[in-house]
């Protein structure tokens, strides 16, 4: 039995999302504040016995603000289960939530909605006057709300039409009759199922030590509890007799007696006979087995000093966490064997507790049949991340939050290919707000450098990631960006490899160089066709091609100066530098041939590193790259970032023909402009500046 999905509507920062889960270890990936903890809380409301009983009576602040006024809306949290087979201790859960249709699935749903009376009133009003019904919504208070748990709901709560049918049409003011609720869709009322499952939530910055010393929630105490019943009466008696004897022995020590008489004397002196309480000093080691067991504690040894046993508080946070988790596992293993059908372990940011390798060992050793783990992370260093099938990407979308499943609908071969590709570093792909996929190292190095030099911001500040494909095919990775999966923009950057040397009309008369150029050119066209076909009808993908190849397009865009500066690092002889420099300043064909020669000589990656150091504010970003940047950051670039870049350029670009002095001198006045006015000013007065071009390109993308 495992959780296969979680649907949420109108809860906290989730207006309408669906999470998917597999057996074993699952991951929530997302930046801070995106709602990972809220997603955990949604699961806990339905599964965690440890939450207070009235936890499902939600509050105003639990309604999603992105949904507008909360009154009248329903919060829906619905969990789907898979492998719900009545023969394995799941029978009660199946009875409460199972779909009796051969699917071995189950559904448990929490509705927080206006109660029957309020809904009936809304319905009656809406029959005659929709506008009145809408107006009356504002009168609803939390007292008019009820929390209802159902089993076996079949509705797709993510479907807006379904939501409208059950909760009402808030625009038209029509509300359904609560006495006509379709239980097949909404499910039949049921008891909480949290007694059937075990759910452990491990907070990110949890104080394990405090928890291990507390009475409630201490897993060691839970394990010790009830153990006294298993100890034979004889053994128990032997021990309790010894304790009793011990207590008596201590109390009868002369030193103790003297002390207690002394205290009594002091009291008498101070308050007199009437008010003085009777004092004795005794050893209070408990003499019942049950209480004795609860005094037991864990001591931890060290490998370096075999004789030493220390208190838990001496341990590092990591070890204490590990011990805590181990105790939790044991606690639930014992429970699982008796009355829990599954254990759900929700771990917030395990990187805060445990080393990556410890996590890996811990998670791979779990009994995945009965234990399902969900970890949340904002780190790219999580080992389990490479299983994109079990990843849910949480992404901010205004006040709302979107959830993407990068592997949804993909066949296993494709998934395997992507998973092989996604090592820990490249998994940034899943975090980025926008992505530029590039051919190789040169672009990987140069694009962030160009953005930094020209716009004064890091590429990550734009929310973009540049990812090199190296030997992989674009299609294999870009496939995760789509309506069904990750709804983030992904620009594919490649080369058309058009020959820059003239080619004869007939290939038969090609010389060796021409033949090679012609072959590349043909391959480029084929690549273009394939990529265009691949990205057609997918608004999240777009292809951007260098006319020739990256280095050539870079030089030809007007960056001969930067390229010439690298010669210092490449050649020691002045003559070589001069010759190369002349060629780079030469006509297109010659300059192009020369830059390719230099790149080949130094290696593309090394050459790009050299080049990156030479970039400055006047470096020209090749048009196709600027377009790709615009496409990838179209949903991200805010007016505030625009202003930041604009001010950078006005301050830093000291070329009259790019930024006129007249404008630079007005910098103080411009700083004080409201953001939107600044944008308008910039676009109007500096129409040819690359920032304005980027802006226009974005507007063009958005128009599409």
């Amino acid at each position: 039995m495992h959780i296969s999905s979680l649907q949420i509507r109108n809860f906290r920062n989730f207006r309408n999302v669906k999470f998917s889960f597999t057996t074993g270890v699952n991951t929530f990936i997302g930046e801070n504040g995106v709602g990972k903890t809220n997603a955990f809380h949604a699961l806990r409301l339905l599964l965690d016995e440890g939450l207070p009983r009235n936890a499902i009576s939600l509050r105003e602040t639990d309604f999603c603000r992105a949904g507008g006024a909360w009154q009248g809306h329903w919060i829906i949290i619905s969990i789907d289960f898979g492998d719900l087979d009545p023969s394995e201790g799941c029978q009660i859960l199946k009875h409460l939530a199972g779909h009796m249709n051969g699917s071995q699935r189950g559904t448990h749903t929490l509705f927080f909605r206006p109660n029957t009376e309020a809904r009936k009133e809304l319905h009656e009003l809406s029959k005659t006057n929709g506008a009145e019904a809408i107006k009356s919504l504002t009168k609803l208070t939390l007292d008019d709300y009820e929390a209802v748990l159902t089993g076996r709901a079949t509705a797709d709560f993510n479907d807006d039409a379904v939501y409208q049918a059950i909760a009402g049409n808030f625009a038209a003011g029509s509300f359904p009759d609560p006495h006509d609720d379709d239980q097949h869709l909404l499910g039949v009322r049921t008891n909480p199922i949290h007694q059937e499952v075990a759910c452990t939530f491990i907070k990110a910055l949890r104080d394990v030590l405090a928890e291990l010393q507390s009475y409630r929630g201490n897993p060691l105490l839970n394990l010790l509890r009830g153990l006294e019943a298993e100890i034979t009466i004889g053994d128990a008696k032997k021990i309790t007799d010894m304790v009793e004897q011990l207590n008596t022995n201590i109390a009868s020590l002369d030193e103790i007696k003297t002390l207690s008489t002394g205290i009594q004397g002091a009291l008498l002196k101070a308050v007199g006979n009437t008010y003085s309480p009777e004092i004795t000093i005794e050893s209070t080691l408990p003499d019942s087995m049950e209480k004795l067991l609860q005094r037991l504690g864990i001591l931890v040894g060290e490998a370096a000093d075999p004789d030493y046993r220390g208190d838990l508080s001496e341990q590092s946070l990591g070890s204490a966490n590990l011990i805590y988790l181990a105790l939790k596992f044991l606690e639930y293993q014992r429970k699982l064997s008796t009355d829990r059908v599954a254990h759900f372990l929700l771990i917030e940011e395990p990187e805060a507790h445990l080393h990556a390798h410890v996590q890996k060992t811990l998670f791979t050793n779990l009994d995945s049949e009965k234990t399902q783990v969900i970890v949340s992370t904002h780190s790219t260093q999580i080992s389990s991340i490479s299983r994109i099938k079990s990843v849910n990407v949480l992404a901010k979308a205004g006040a709302d939050c979107a959830v993407y499943q990068p592997a949804q609908g993909l066949d296993d071969d494709t998934i395997n290919r992507i998973e092989r590709y996604l090592d820990a570093v490249r998994s940034t792909l899943l975090f980025a707000k926008g992505v530029i996929l590039v051919e190789g190292e040169a672009e990987l190095i140069m694009i962030p450098a160009m953005v930094r030099a020209v716009f004064g911001v890091g590429i990550d500040e734009l929310g973009l990631s540049v990812i090199a494909m190296n030997a992989s095919f674009f299609e294999h990775i870009a496939v995760i960006f789509s309506d069904d999966r990750i709804r983030r923009r992904c620009a594919i950057l490649s080369d058309l490899d058009k020959a820059f040397i003239p080619l004869p009309d007939s290939p038969e008369s090609d010389d060796k160089i021409q033949m090679h150029a012609r072959a590349s050119q043909l391959a480029g066209v084929r690549r273009q066709t394939a990529l265009n076909e691949f990205t057609a009808n997918n608004p999240w993908l777009s292809v951007f091609l260098a006319e020739h190849t990256f280095e050539v397009d870079f030089v030809l865009a007007g960056n001969a100066w930067e390229t010439i500066q690298t010669l210092e690092d490449i050649y020691t002889r002045e003559a070589d530098r001069t010759a190369a420099s002349e060629r780079l300043n030469g006509e297109r064909k010659i300059a192009a041939t020369e830059v390719l020669r230099l790149a080949a000589k130094e290696g593309k990656g090394w050459f790009a590193l050299l080049l990156a150091e030479k970039l400055f504010t006047r470096t020209v970003i090749p048009t196709y790259i600027l377009s790709a940047l615009a496409f990838a950051c179209q949903d991200i670039l805010t007016d505030r970032t625009f202003r930041q870049i604009g001010l950078y350029r006005i301050r830093e670009v000291d070329f009259e023909e790019v930024i006129p002095d007249a404008i630079r001198q007005r910098i103080d006045e411009l700083i004080s402009l409201p953001t939107s006015e600044f944008v308008t000013f910039y676009l109007a007065n500096l129409p040819d500046d690359p920032l304005s071009t980027l802006y226009r390109e974005i507007s063009y993308c958005q128009l599409l």
Binding site: Q91, I92, K94, H95, N115, K120, Q183, V188, R189, D339
Partner: protein, 595 residues
């Protein structure tokens, strides 16, 4: 009876036998004790907290009884479910799986017998049945076919079903029918229930209906050999045949379920004198002697018969000396029972007895205006207001309160406010309710109103709940009107319904099913009551005489020592002909004792 009392050899075998069992239990053989022990054994042997032991009884009272006895012995009953077949079907099948039936998926309520009878009566006004003793039966067949053969009855049945459907109501027969349908059409439901219920015990097996068998059969055949069926009953005590009971022999039961049952017999009577045993055995169709193992087996006791020797108006005058004699012999009042076939005869007699015999306490449930509303939610609320936390109910009240919370929340689809949400809090609130009202029904109206206010339940928004409350009071009021002056109506009189059972029991043959008394005085033993006119007119002669035998068997076997039978004269049929003594009784030659 403490349940720890050791079992006889026969009883022990019946409790310890593994596998599917039919226990044939003669009257007084400790059937309930055997059932209780089997349930306790089942509870002990449970392998998982996911399983439940199911004990199905014929009446809610019997279920309460089982629960109360286990409560009193401090046995953990978390994993026991007891109740009637109807509540079983409703709670385990119809409610949880109603979404799978188009007719039920948009909600439904349960119509009680009072309401369904009212509907049928209304329909009959425009379209009367041709014969005086014709009846419309509402029992449903497995196929869903109309069970009525008469043209008018069949038509009324169809209209009745349509009416309930438009009102989104289910009657008891619907509950069984839809349960069967759900189990048949979705085998997974049966499989799941089978995995939950390793042991299903059925009491009074002789009185269960065809659809009961159908429902049980779907469940236990879903996962072969994982469930055990434990049937306890006595074919000779089947007195509900005209209400649809379908007594089956052990081979017939095996045929229904498709696997063999072991038949075990409890043939030792621990209740009656050997003389009484020998007497009532003569109304029995089975073979084999019944031996009395009662401590007083050899006592002579008394067996008397007033065969048309007294007039109906002299009943009280005849019965009072009989009662006095028993009391004088030191028999406590609650060990004396006066019974007749019909409430219509019992209630006037009870009224007169109460008036003419004021020094003796009577326990006459028929006199309470509430006794016919047991299934009603407001009866359950009233029960909490009319009982207190003394030793008598201290174990049961929390459970009753839990039931009330559950049903109120279910019917209003609202959570009760936090101040009433647990049984402890609800009981605290109820116990602290004070009212100056002394009239019983007025008191209930007042405290119901206060509870509703505290629970923030506005009946205007809960038509079903409002209807049950109206029904509850209407029935009580009707009862009062019908028995004007006979019934004390103050709060204390209402409390008596739930008080310890002290006083002479005045009830019907069906009402004392399963009980025992030192002295039994039975009247109204007339042809037309025993057997009923319906059986005489519509049944074969054999069926009618069988019914009479079974009723007499049940009546006579209630007595431990003294049995007084009365076939009074002076009662007239509708066509003004005198009633005669029940033929089965008249045909028996026996040398009765002289009074």
């Amino acid at each position: 009876m403490p349940i720890a009392v050791s079992l006889s050899a026969e009883q022990l075998i019946a409790v310890e036998h593994n596998g599917h069992v039919v226990v044939r239990a003669c009257p007084g053989s400790g059937k309930t004790r055997v059932l209780l022990h089997r349930v306790m054994r089942g509870l002990n042997e449970l392998a998982s907290t996911k399983q439940r032991i199911i004990a199905l009884t014929f009446t809610n009272r019997a279920a309460d009884e089982i629960q109360a006895r286990l409560d009193l012995s401090g046995i953990e009953t978390e994993q026991l479910w007891t109740g009637t077949m109807h509540s079983f079907a409703l709670e385990w099948i119809v409610r949880p799986y109603s979404a799978y039936l188009d007719k039920l998926k948009r909600g439904f309520a349960v119509a009680d017998e009072h309401y369904t009878q009212q509907v049928i009566d209304e329909l009959l006004v425009d379209d009367p049945l041709p014969g005086r003793y014709d009846q419309v039966t509402t029992a449903r067949a497995r196929t869903g076919a109309n069970p009525n053969s008469g043209l008018v009855a069949a038509r009324i049945y169809e209209r009745y079903r349509r009416r309930l459907e438009t009102e989104k109501l289910l009657d008891y027969d619907d509950i069984l029918f839809y349960s069967y349908q759900l189990l048949r059409d979705r085998p997974e439901i049966a499989e799941t229930l089978a995995a939950i219920m390793p042991l299903i015990c059925v009491d009074e097996t002789q009185d269960i209906q065809d659809l009961h068998y159908a429902v049980l059969s779907q469940i236990v055949t879903a996962q072969r050999n994982r469930n055990t069926l434990y049937f306890v009953g006595d074919l000779n005590q089947c007195i509900y045949q005209n209400l649809g009971a379908l007594p089956k022999t052990t081979p017939e039961i095996a045929l229904e379920f498709g696997f063999p049952f072991r038949e075990l017999t409890l043939s030792k009577n621990f209740r009656s004198t050997q003389r009484l045993v020998d007497y009532f055995t003569r109304f029995r169709s089975g073979t084999g002697p019944i031996v009395s193992l009662a401590a007083y087996a050899g006592d002579r006791g008394a067996i008397t018969f007033f065969d048309q020797t007294i007039d109906r108006h002299a009943l009280v005058a005849t019965i009072i000396p009989l009662v006095r004699k028993s009391l004088a012999a030191g028999i406590p009042a609650e060990e004396i029972c006066i019974l007749a076939p019909h409430w219509a005869h019992v209630i006037p007699l009870a009224r007169e007895l109460v008036l003419q015999f004021p020094e003796v306490p009577f326990d006459a449930p028929g006199l309470s205006p509430l006794h016919s509303s047991r299934e009603n939610i407001w009866f359950k609320v009233a029960r909490l207001f009319l009982t207190s936390g003394n030793h008598l109910h201290q174990n049961s009240r929390p459970r009753w309160a839990k039931e009330v919370i559950h049903e109120l929340e279910r019917d209003t689809k609202l959570r009760l406010p936090a101040s009433l949400r647990t049984s402890r809090l609800l009981l605290r609130s109820i116990n602290s309710t004070v009212s100056a009202e002394t009239d019983g029904l007025a008191y209930l109206r007042e405290v119901f109103g206060r509870l509703n206010a505290q629970a923030r339940i506005d009946l205007a928004f809960h038509p079903d709940l409002a209807k049950s409350q109206n029904d509850f009071f209407a029935r009580a009021q009707n009862h009062l009107v019908r028995h004007q002056g006979a019934i004390p109506t103050d709060v204390n009189a209402l409390r008596k319904l739930f008080g310890s059972r002290e006083g002479i029991v005045v009830s019907t043959c069906h009402g004392v099913k399963g009980e025992e008394f030192t002295t039994v005085i039975a009247f109204g033993l007339l042809q037309g009551y025993i057997p009923n006119w319906q059986s005489i007119i519509h049944g074969t002669g054999n069926e009618a005489s069988e019914e009479a035998s079974k009723l007499l068997y049940v009546i006579c076997s209630r007595a431990k020592k003294h049995l007084h039978l009365i076939a009074e004269c002076g009662r007239l049929t509708a066509s003004r002909r005198p009633y005669h003594t029940s033929e089965e009784l008249a045909a028996l030659t026996y040398s009765y004792d002289q009074v």
